[in-house]
Symmetry: C2
Subunit: 379 residues, 2 copies
């Protein structure tokens, strides 16, 4: 049964609400002038509380990787030592980018494992900046940024955080945690189409940025800061996506950040409970549950079904989930709970998963997974 | 009389057709998989004839300046000498970007003046690459890329061309002219919202790219080439904008490139004739007319009216034109004829200009400008 109404439960891009699509499809307006200035400012002010910051937030036309490059290239020089904490694909991407701009010091943990705080303490000496992924989308792990930032600050190191898949879906307290630079992508928990990213920058980080010379032209954040003071972006922005993002910011304000975080946490708990009830192993077998990502759940591929059978099987019923990335390809599958999803779609997706598992003989009888999820959602 | 139906005759972003907005606002699809692959390929194949190339075309999520940075940073190293031919703001931007990646040699002409080919010949010795803006949007000039490329090739220099506001609106013959790298922005003659850019790359340029080390991570074109072979982009693309661009490519194919170029040329001629009939001086007082841009016309601000009176006056009636940039601020105004505009809107815009000029006492009687334009369009 093919459907023309696909629902994305991949960890971004997410299915966006019709009112966001509608906002995006308004006729173009000029990118210089009062109208765009108001849109830009509403986006910026709307993002600040999601980052947990009163500092500057700059929005760039480009996807998350551009934001990651901006958050490194503006704040480190060749001679700076950067501790790259890696326990998944996006930590690794930070490391790859760092190689272009500074002297990386790799601190890698098994993908799917938690960050060992003691190892961070051992590796921090002489470090000028650290990179850490808050929510490691590739493995479904939430990293302890607050604890890591504390260690970094003792050494005077800048804390650069990938919040691409956490900001807007989980509490981020940049100022309280002492994070200096954080980045978010539009197409994740913010519920917007892909094409924009935003970088939040502390005063301390700006001081450093003024000395840095090797920043690429297009992502030089000092230029974005200067332009923002005039209500502009330095280069033509993706105007339609800003219209979409403004609508998302309004949606988030209507829901409220507490309710939004609660919805994300509850949904991911429901997915995990459903997996357990179906005998599917969670990929990172970590405790306590607080270390699991609230926005994406990674599960081991069950015996008796292949990656493509599972994902294509679900896709036929209009539910998109993601496979493993890099070294985890074929070994895990991932279900995102990001943005403006609702429980009806979530339970529908879990039910479709059960149907596919039944039809491949992986489980005998459907119902247990959805049942467990309903208990969480209605509990 | 305020209107809620603004029409952008600035040199980008342009007002896009409703069917493009509709295509853009389709529900999100995943960026990995067959559906997106088909969209990506249709965009790439649709752009090739507009560049006049059979070589690779890579599409990046970001606006034109990102494309300009990609076209320099992938193809030059620090020790390379780059001749930056500058006769306007975008030529200057190429120069600014070059400073980050190579050793620039500035060859500047008065903004609004033509490029003096003899000076290019004198300056070409020992040059590894040249940058040239095909259509200098800031001044309304079309530069003689073919002649310049011939000189560059004698020296073995790569030819890097900004085609941001020409590709899709004027003939570009990359392969025939010997242009090695060319860039276009989505929001200009292609008739798409801003947020995408595309770079076309010759075989000779790829050979060089393999040696270059300092390319930023996000715009490393070799990664885009590798990903494109699998029908993908290396990082999450701005999916909705690709849906829009595909629609634009279809619109362009329906119109046909010859008819499209003819429409752009005729429209810009109509604007210039209207200006002359109204006693408005064209900004670059150059001959022959073939050196005038076919996609944007720059005019000197008439006596008796200020920049803001003229532009705000027209805006009240829903027509947006642009002011001067950089050192030309306040001295000129510019009317774009880019993308999927039609003659009704164009004549409407010229009529509104006349109305504003009459109401400020700049001209006595309206009609002459539109009359001259109608003669061109119906001639």
């Amino acid at each position: 049964m093919k459907t023309n109404d696909p629902y994305l439960m991949i960890p971004g891009p997410v299915t966006v609400l019709p009112r966001v699509l509608k906002a995006m499809s308004q006729p173009l307006i000029p990118h210089r002038g009062k109208e765009f200035e108001e849109i830009l400012n509403e986006c910026v002010e709307g993002l600040k509380p999601l980052f947990g910051t009163g500092e500057d937030v700059l929005i760039l036309s480009g996807t998350g990787t551009l934001g990651m490059e901006a958050s490194i290239s503006n704040f480190v020089s060749e001679e700076d030592v950067v501790l790259n904490i890696v326990n998944g694909k996006f930590g690794e991407r930070f490391y790859e980018i760092t190689k272009k701009y500074a002297t990386p010091r790799l601190l890698e943990f098994e993908w799917g494992n938690s960050v060992d705080i003691e190892k961070v303490e051992e590796g921090i000496e002489g470090v000028n900046a650290i990179t850490i992924v808050h929510n490691e989308t590739s493995t479904g792990i939430l990293n302890p940024v607050k604890e890591i930032a504390k260690i970094a600050h003792k050494e005077g190191a800048l804390v650069i955080m990938d919040g691409i898949t956490s900001v807007g879906g989980e509490y981020v307290e940049m100022d309280k945690w002492g994070v200096d630079v954080a980045v978010v992508g539009s197409q994740k928990c913010l519920g917007c189409p892909p094409g924009l990213c935003a970088v939040a920058v502390s005063e301390r980080a700006w001081d450093k940025a003024k000395e840095v010379k090797n920043t690429p032209y297009y992502c030089d954040l000092l230029e974005y800061k200067k332009a923002l003071e005039k209500g502009q972006t330095p280069y033509t922005p993706a105007v339609s996506l800003f219209l979409a993002l403004r609508e998302c910011v309004r949606i988030i304000n209507e829901e409220g950040i507490d309710a939004r975080v609660e919805r994300h946490r509850r949904a991911s708990t429901a997915v995990r409970e459903a997996a357990c009830a179906l005998g599917i192993e969670l990929f990172p077998e970590i405790v306590p549950p607080s270390k699991y990502s609230p926005t994406v759940t990674a599960m081991r591929m069950p015996n008796g079904i292949t990656d493509s059978e599972l994902r294509n099987g679900m896709k036929e019923y209009g539910v998109y989930v993601a496979g493993g990335q890099g070294r985890l390809k074929g070994k895990i599958f991932r279900m995102g709970t990001m943005g403006d999803f609702n429980f009806r779609n979530l339970l529908g997706a879990i039910s479709i998963l059960e149907g596919v598992l039944v039809s491949h003989g992986v489980i005998d009888k459907p119902g247990a997974g959805v049942g467990a999820a309903v208990e969480v959602l209605f509990g």
